[in-house]
Amino acid sequence: MILEFRLNGEEVEILVSPDEILLDVLRDRFNFTGTKKGCGKGECGACTVIINGNAVNSCMLPAMKAMGKDVQTIEGIGTPENLHPLQQTFIEEGAIQCGFCTPGMIMSSKALLDNNQSPTREEIKEAISGNICRCTGYVKIEQAVLSAANRMKAQKSVGEGE
């Protein structure tokens, strides 16, 4: 079947079998390997992508469910030259160790910040509660999301000031 959807802002088309999983299509067919396969059953969040504004686990989602939808992966967020504020603050706050959970953490955090410019610590905790990190212990990750939110607000108010 032909699957058409928007991937990181670009309209794409690909032939998939109906039982293919979105995560595998992203990784193996589009070579977007930033999205990680951890547990494969929705328990670790490493595979988190944003579909139509919502963070979801791509490891349990038949690829056909992306039909006509807007899918964002870590590859669509910032570039090495121009990092997204979340990517910048994750580095600055030391919110990364092995890095395996990081793309998922960033996607969950971005879904939060896209809808909520001033999240509380509790709201951040809820947003990343489906993402498991075995290295850092979450405190620095929360701090990084909070810093990114502040930075994005500041950038926005500068932008509006001009």
């Binding site: 999983i21 328990e43 979801v56 349990m60 038949p62 969950s108 947003a127 509660s129 489906g130």
Partner: protein
Amino acid sequence: MDDVLKCFKEYPGEARIIAGGTDLVLDMESGKVQCSCLVDITGIDELQKIEMTDQNVIIGAAVTHSEVNRSELIKATAAVLSQACGTVGSLQIRNIATVVGNVVNGQPAADAAVALMALGAEAEIACLSGTRNVPLEEFYAGLGKTNVDCSNEIVTSVKFPALKENQGSSFVRFAQREALALPMLNVAVSLSLNGDKTIEWVRIAMAPVGPKPMRARSAEQMLTGSEISGELFEKAAEEALKEACPRDSALRGTAEYRKDVLPVLVRRALEAAVASIKCF
């Protein structure tokens, strides 16, 4: 909807409905479920609604836990369900998994299903020959099993009476973590007060204390018509315990431990349900 039902005819015994798929996809990968045709119903408009008609709240089969959790209508008319829907799995799962799916999967501790049982909900089941309504209590056929024939029927919605101003509800959950943890126990209560103090009726649903979510009938009877008091709630909680039969779980507590905790949760759920009325 007609097209969905036609798929059952076109692929006899081989078609399965997929909504969120968060259980089904894993069951297919493990080989527990085999089918040659998946019918995705999440794009069907009439199944995406949360609406109120004639004092009843109706939730369509494509509505996710996140949508119910955030719905102002549900917060106002069935707080217990909003609370329960906020506890299932993780945010990523709640964004995909449907409330009707939580019921159809037939697991005894399914949070949304337990809340729906406390709300006196019924499921609307459609097949090619028509539709029928089944109260949730008659919906289950044993552990992980329901009375829905998944290769011929679809649960199109769940429906329950909206709670009114003199009625309240509450959901209490006990688990090892706040996210991504199945409940060791969960209790859902809805109740109606006559005046300030007398309980007009009450529904207590608890799980996992048997092969399906169950009502604490004799505790409910004890409470009905009585005046609320701490002592009464203690007694009712002990009564509920007598009806419960939790299993030993290697991961989620021994039967003995669950029996110690259950009455506390029942009492807290009753208290919180009463407190929720006073908020009006």
